[in-house]
C-alpha cells in the first residue's frame, strides 16, 4: 500500500480535534510545522512513512500540547478579552441617531404625544423657573445687598408678637454715629400723596418717597442723569425715574427743571434714575431728600422726636461687621433716647424683605416664600407627569424594539451599551422637546406676564446661564424619563426574543399601572388644590366684612385740600345723589396698629393690648353702616366728642375685660383721657390674613387724609360727572381723582387671585399632559387587543360592553389614584388654609367633584380610543397584522 501523506495528516488532525482547546488556527500552525518537519526528514533520506512518523513524534502528543494551550486559556479567562469592545463606539453613533429618528418617524402619533407632553412640561417648568428666579432676585441687584439691613422694632415688650418697620426720624443718624460698624444709614419715607405740577401737567403722586443722601451710595439704582455726589445734597431737589421724567417732560431734558409740590413749594430735578427693570422692594417714582418731610410736612421740630414712628430706616454695615453682633449690641438701645421706649431694634437683611418678611406696616407688593415653594413643587409635578408619559408609552411599545435589542445583543452589544443607546434616545427626544418648549415659552410669556403681573423676559439666547440651565433641565428630563425604558429594554434576552417563544407585550403591566396611578394621583391632587384655593379666594372676597363698602368713592385730601375739606363736603352734600360724606386718616380696608397700650378703667398695671386705630370724622359709622351694639356714634350734638370720645369694637371690650355698660367707661390713648361713647360690632378693617383685633376710632380733624362720598346706586356716571363739575367750579388746584372703595378692596387679594390663576392654569396643563399619556396608552392597548375585540364582536359582544371592558383597567387606576390623592390633598390644603385666620372649610364634595372630574377627563380620553376600536368592523380587525 502506498503511503498517502494527506490522508495521514487528516487522520492526525482528527486526533487533535478531539481536544476542544485546539482552535482551527492552532491546528493550522502545527500542521504547517508538521509538513516542514516532514520535508526536512525526507530530505535527510528517510522514507515517506518514516519521515512522517518522525515528524509526528517530534511535534509531540496531542495531550501534552493541549495541556499547554489549556493553561493559556485559563490565563485568558482570567483576563479581559482582547476583543472587548470599547465603552463607546463612535462608529455606531450614526446608527443610533438613525434608529432613534426612524422610531420617531414610524410612530408619529406616539412620538407626538411624547414630545409635546415633554415640551409642555418643560415650558411650564421654564415659566416657573423664570418666575421663581424673578422673585428670588429682589434687591439682589444692589452690589451692597449683603451689607444692607432694615431696622425694625420688636414691640413684644408691650404687645404680643408685634413688630413694625416704622421708626422715628432721628434714628438713622443716631445709629450711624453710635456704632462705628454702620458706615451708611438712610431714612426712607412716605408722607401721603403729593400733587406735583409742571406747567399744565399735574398729577397726584402716590410714589413720592424721601431718603437721605446716603441712599444713593447704599443702593445701586443706576443714575442715568445727574451727579451722584450731589444729587440729593440740596434739600429741595428731586430724582425722577425714567418713566416719571417722560411723564412730565416727554422729550425735554429733565435736569434743572422745576416741579411744584402741593402748590406750595418747588423742587429742582437733579437726577434721573433707572428702576424699571430692577426688582426692588423699595419702590418710588420720585425721590427727594428726607429733610423736605421735616420742613414741609411734619415740622422740623420732629427731627429729634423719637416717638414719631413713621419711617423706614436702612443701614449699611462694614464688610467685616456681623449683623448678629450688632443685633446684640442693639439690645435696650431705644431706652438711651427715650426712657419709656421698651421696644427692641432688630436688623433684617435687605434680601429677606421681599420673600421672608412679615412685619407690621411692611412695604407693599412683597412676595411670599411659601408661593415660591408651592410653584417649585408644581413645576416638579408637571415635569414628573410628562416623564411618566414618556416611560409608559416607551415601555408599552417596547415589543416593537425587542427585535432590535435582540439583534444588537447577538452581534455583540453589551447591556451597558444598550442602556446608553436608549438614554441617548430619550435625551434626544428631550432636547427636541426643549426646542419646541423654547418656542412655546416665547409665545406664552406675554400671557404669563399678564397673569402674573410681572415683566418677565426669557432672553435665553443671550443669557448663557439660563440657557445652560434649560439644557440641563432637558437633560435631567431625558435621563429621568429614559431611565426605566433603558433598563427595561436592555434586559431583554436575545434568545427568547429572536425565537419568538414569548410574545412580549411590553413592560410589566403592573408597573405601567403604578405609573398611571402616580400620574393621576398628582392630577387629582392638583384638581383638589385648585378647587380649595379658588374656594378660599372667593370666600375672602365675598365674606361679610361687617361694614358696607358699596357705592363709596374716596378722594385723597392732602396738602391744601385738607384745609378745604369742610367746604368741599358742604358743596358735595348739596348734590341730591350724595347720601353721606365722611373722612378718615387711613382706608377702612387696611387700618393699621398704633404703638403703645391704651389706658382703660380698671386696667391691671401689667396688662398689654395691641390696638388698631384710626382717626375719623362725623358720620363715619353711618357712612360705612357699622352696627353699634352699645352707645352712639360721634355726634355734632355733643361738643366734647371731637376731644374725648372713643368708639371701640367688641374685641377691644373683650380684651380689656370691661363689664357692661361699657359706654361711659374711662378710656385713654395718645395721652388723651376720655371715655367710651359707643361699642361697634366686630368688622374686618384689614385683609383677611389678619384676625379681627381691638380697634378704636377717635375724631381728629387735623389728621383726616381721605374723604369718602357715599352715592346713590342709580346713575353713578352722572353723579360722578356732576361731582367733578362741582370740583372744577371750586377751583381747588388739584385734579378730581377718585377711586371706588370696593375696587380697592379687591386689590387686597389681587396677588392671591393672581397666584391662584397661575396655579389653576398650570394644574390644568398638568392634567392635560396626564391625559395625553393616557390617550397614548389607551390607543396602544386598543391596538394590541384588536383581534380580541374582533372576535368578541363576531361572537356577539356589543360596542358598549367592549368599551366597558377596555375602560375597566383604567377605571381601577383612577379609583386607586383618588384614594391615594385624597388624604395627601386633605393634609396639604388643610395646612395651607391654616395661615388664613378666616378660611373656608374643606368639604367632602370638593373631593368627590375632583374624583368625578378626574374620572370624567380620563374616561373621555380613554373612550376616544376604545370607542374607535370597539366600533371597528370585525372583518378589518381580524385581518389585522
Amino acid at each position: 500500500m502506498m503511503f498517502d501523506l494527506e490522508k495521514e495528516i487528516r487522520k492526525w488532525k482528527k486526533s487533535l480535534q478531539k481536544h476542544e482547546v485546539f482552535e482551527n488556527g492552532f491546528i493550522a500552525d502545527i500542521e504547517l510545522h508538521l509538513r516542514d518537519s516532514y520535508s526536512a526528514q525526507k530530505q535527510a533520506g528517510l522514507t515517506e512513512e518514516d519521515a512522517f512518523r518522525q515528524a509526528v513524534a517530534q511535534v509531540g502528543t496531542a495531550e501534552s500540547i493541549a495541556a499547554e494551550y489549556n493553561k493559556n486559556r485559563l490565563v485568558m479567562l482570567n483576563r479581559h478579552s482582547p476583543l472587548r469592545p470599547g465603552r463607546f463606539m463612535p462608529a455606531l453613533v450614526w446608527n443610533y441617531i438613525k434608529t432613534a429618528l426612524r422610531t420617531i418617524r414610524r410612530h408619529k402619533g406616539y412620538s407626538l404625544i411624547n414630545v409635546s407632553g415633554l415640551a409642555i412640561g418643560l415650558t411650564v417648568c421654564m415659566l416657573i423657573v423664570l418666575w421663581v428666579a424673578d422673585e428670588w432676585s429682589f434687591d439682589r441687584f444692589n452690589t451692597n445687598a449683603r451689607q444692607i439691613y432694615r431696622v425694625y422694632r420688636n414691640e413684644s415688650a408691650t404687645q404680643k408678637n408685634s413688630t413694625t418697620v416704622l421708626t422715628p426720624p432721628p434714628m438713622a443718624a443716631a445709629l450711624k454715629s453710635d456704632f462705628p460698624e454702620i458706615i451708611k444709614a438712610t431714612r426712607f419715607g412716605y408722607w401721603h400723596r403729593q400733587l406735583v405740577t409742571y406747567k399744565d401737567k399735574s398729577f397726584n403722586e402716590p410714589g413720592f418717597r424721601y431718603a437721605d443722601p446716603d441712599f444713593i451710595d447704599m443702593f445701586s439704582f443706576p443714575l442715568i442723569k445727574g451727579n451722584p455726589k450731589t444729587v440729593l445734597s440740596n434739600p429741595y431737589s428731586v430724582i425722577l425715574t425714567e418713566k416719571t421724567a417722560t411723564k412730565y417732560f416727554a422729550e425735554e431734558d429733565p435736569l434743572g427743571k422745576i416741579l411744584t409740590v402741593n402748590n406750595s413749594f418747588n423742587v429742582t430735578v437733579t437726577g434721573v434714575i433707572h428702576n424699571e427693570s430692577l426688582n426692588s422692594s423699595l419702590e418710588f417714582d420720585l425721590l427727594s431728600p428726607f429733610v423736605i418731610i421735616l420742613k414741609e410736612s411734619i415740622g422740623e421740630g420732629n427731627a429729634d422726636n423719637w416717638g414719631f414712628n413713621s419711617f423706614g430706616t436702612y443701614v449699611m454695615l462694614e464688610q467685616s461687621a456681623s449683623a448678629d453682633n450688632l443685633n446684640q449690641k442693639l439690645a435696650g438701645y431705644l431706652k438711651k433716647y427715650s426712657d419709656t421706649d421698651t421696644d427692641e431694634l432688630v436688623l433684617q437683611p435687605l434680601t429677606d424683605i421681599h420673600l421672608f418678611s412679615n412685619l407690621g406696616h411692611d412695604l407693599r407688593n412683597r412676595g411670599d416664600i411659601k408661593y415660591v415653594w408651592i410653584f417649585s413643587a408644581l413645576a416638579v409635578f408637571v415635569l414628573l407627569i410628562a416623564c411618566v408619559n414618556f416611560m409608559n408609552l416607551t415601555t408599552a411599545r417596547s415589543a416593537n424594539r425587542a427585535k432590535e435589542v435582540g439583534l444588537r445583543k447577538v452581534v455583540g452589544a453589551e447591556r451597558s451599551q444598550l442602556i446608553r443607546q436608549f438614554f441617548g434616545e430619550s435625551i434626544l427626544i428631550a432636547l427636541l422637546a426643549l426646542v419646541i418648549a423654547l418656542i412655546f415659552l416665547e409665545l406664552l410669556l406675554p400671557l404669563f406676564n399678564t397673569l402674573s403681573g410681572k415683566q418677565l423676559a426669557s432672553g435665553w439666547w443671550n443669557n448663557p446661564i439660563l440657557l445652560l440651565g434649560f439644557i440641563g433641565l432637558a437633560l435631567v428630563t431625558g435621563i429621568l424619563s429614559g431611565s426605566y425604558p433603558a433598563l427595561f429594554l436592555s434586559a431583554f434576552q436575545p434568545i427568547r426574543i429572536l425565537k419568538s417563544t414569548e410574545r412580549s407585550s411590553g413592560a410589566n403591566p403592573l408597573f405601567r399601572k403604578i405609573l398611571v396611578i402616580f400620574q393621576f394621583t398628582l392630577s387629582v391632587f392638583l384638581i383638589i388644590g385648585t378647587l380649595i384655593i379658588s374656594r378660599q379666594l372667593s370666600y375672602m372676597r365675598n365674606i361679610d366684612l361687617g361694614f358696607s363698602k358699596e357705592h363709596i368713592i374716596y378722594l385723597s385730601i392732602h396738602g391744601e385740600l385738607h384745609d378745604k375739606y369742610g367746604s368741599i363736603r358742604e358743596r358735595f352734600l348739596q348734590n341730591p345723589d350724595v347720601i353721606r360724606i365722611t373722612a378718615s386718616m387711613t382706608l377702612p380696608t387696611n387700618i393699621q396698629g398704633s404703638p403703645g397700650t391704651p389706658m382703660w378703667e380698671g386696667r391691671p398695671s401689667d396688662a398689654k393690648m395691641e390696638i388698631k386705630a384710626d382717626f375719623v370724622d362725623y358720620d363715619y359709622i353711618e357712612t360705612f353702616e357699622i352696627p353699634l351694639v352699645e352707645g352712639r356714634s360721634f355726634s355734632r350734638q355733643y361738643s366734647a366728642d371731637p376731644e374725648t370720645a372713643f368708639i371701640v369694637n367688641e374685641e377691644a371690650v373683650r380684651r380689656m375685660g370691661l363689664e357692661k355698660p361699657v359706654v361711659g367707661k374711662r378710656f385713654g390713648f395718645w395721652n388723651i383721657d376720655g371715655q367710651i361713647i359707643g361699642v361697634m360690632k366686630d368688622a374686618h378693617f384689614q385683609n383677611l390674613h389678619h384676625k379681627i383685633e381691638p380697634l378704636v376710632f377717635k375724631m381728629f380733624p387735623g389728621w383726616l387724609r381721605r374723604m369718602y362720598v357715599k352715592i346713590r346706586s342709580a346713575n353713578v356716571p352722572s353723579t360722578l360727572a356732576s361731582l367733578e363739575k362741582t370740583w372744577e367750579e371750586m377751583n381747588l388746584g388739584y385734579p378730581f381723582e377718585y377711586r371706588f372703595l370696593d375696587e380697592d378692596f379687591h386689590n387686597l387679594y389681587k396677588s392671591e387671585a393672581r397666584l391662584g390663576k397661575i396655579f389653576q392654569s398650570f394644574a390644568a396643563l398638568a392634567v392635560f399632559i396626564a391625559c395625553l399619556g393616557l390617550f397614548g396608552l389607551a390607543s396602544f392597548i386598543a391596538e394590541q387587543r384588536t383581534k380580541e375585540i374582533g372576535i368578541r364582536k363576531v361572537l356577539g359582544s356589543s360596542t358598549a360592553r367592549i368599551v366597558a371592558l377596555l375602560n375597566r383597567e383604567f377605571l381601577y387606576c383612577i379609583a386607586a389614584a383618588n384614594l391615594i390623592a385624597w388624604p395627601i390633598a386633605y393634609f396639604a390644603t388643610h395646612e395651607w388654609l391654616q395661615k388664613f385666620p378666616y378660611r373656608t372649610n374643606i368639604k367632602i364634595w370638593v373631593f368627590l367633584l375632583s374624583a368625578a372630574l378626574g374620572l370624567a377627563v380620563a374616561l373621555l380620553t380613554v373612550s376616544l380610543q376604545t370607542l374607535r376600536a370597539a366600533r371597528a368592523n370585525p372583518v378589518d380587525s381580524l385581518r389585522h397584522e
Partner: protein, 106 residues
C-alpha cells in the same frame, strides 16, 4: 516549559521576524540539543507570548507558496528581553562565583 524558552525566542525574534518551524529549529540549535520538549509544545508558548503582547504575528505567503505564520517582536518584547538578559547575566555571574566548574559530559 523551561524559563529560558521565552528569552531565547525573544532573542531570536529580535534579529528579525520568523515563523514557527524556523524558530524551533534555531532554539534546538542554540540549546545544543538539550531541549527536552517536543516541537508542538512551542506553539502554546508563542500564543502565550502573543497574549502578553511580547510578540505579534501575521500570516504571510512564503516563497514556496506555503502560508507561514510569522512572529515579530514588539517594543514590549524588546524591553522584556533586555531585562531578562540583565537578570540572566546576574544569575550566571553568581553561579560562576559560587560553583565549581561542572565537568563537561563526554
Amino acid at each position: 516549559m523551561a524559563a529560558s524558552t521565552r528569552p531565547i525566542i525573544l532573542a531570536i525574534l529580535s534579529r528579525g521576524e520568523d515563523y514557527g518551524y524556523s524558530i524551533i529549529q534555531k532554539v534546538k540549535d542554540i540549546s545544543g540539543g538539550h531541549l527536552k520538549w517536543t516541537d508542538g509544545m512551542l506553539y502554546p508558548v508563542l500564543q502565550r507570548m502573543e497574549m502578553d503582547d511580547l510578540i505579534t504575528s501575521k500570516w504571510k505567503l512564503s516563497g514556496e507558496g506555503r502560508p507561514r505564520h510569522y512572529y515579530t517582536i514588539t517594543e514590549k518584547g524588546r524591553k522584556e528581553l533586555a531585562s531578562e538578559l540583565v537578570s540572566w547575566r546576574n544569575v550566571w555571574q553568581a553561579l560562576v562565583r559560587l560553583a565549581k566548574p561542572i565537568p563537561a559530559e563526554d
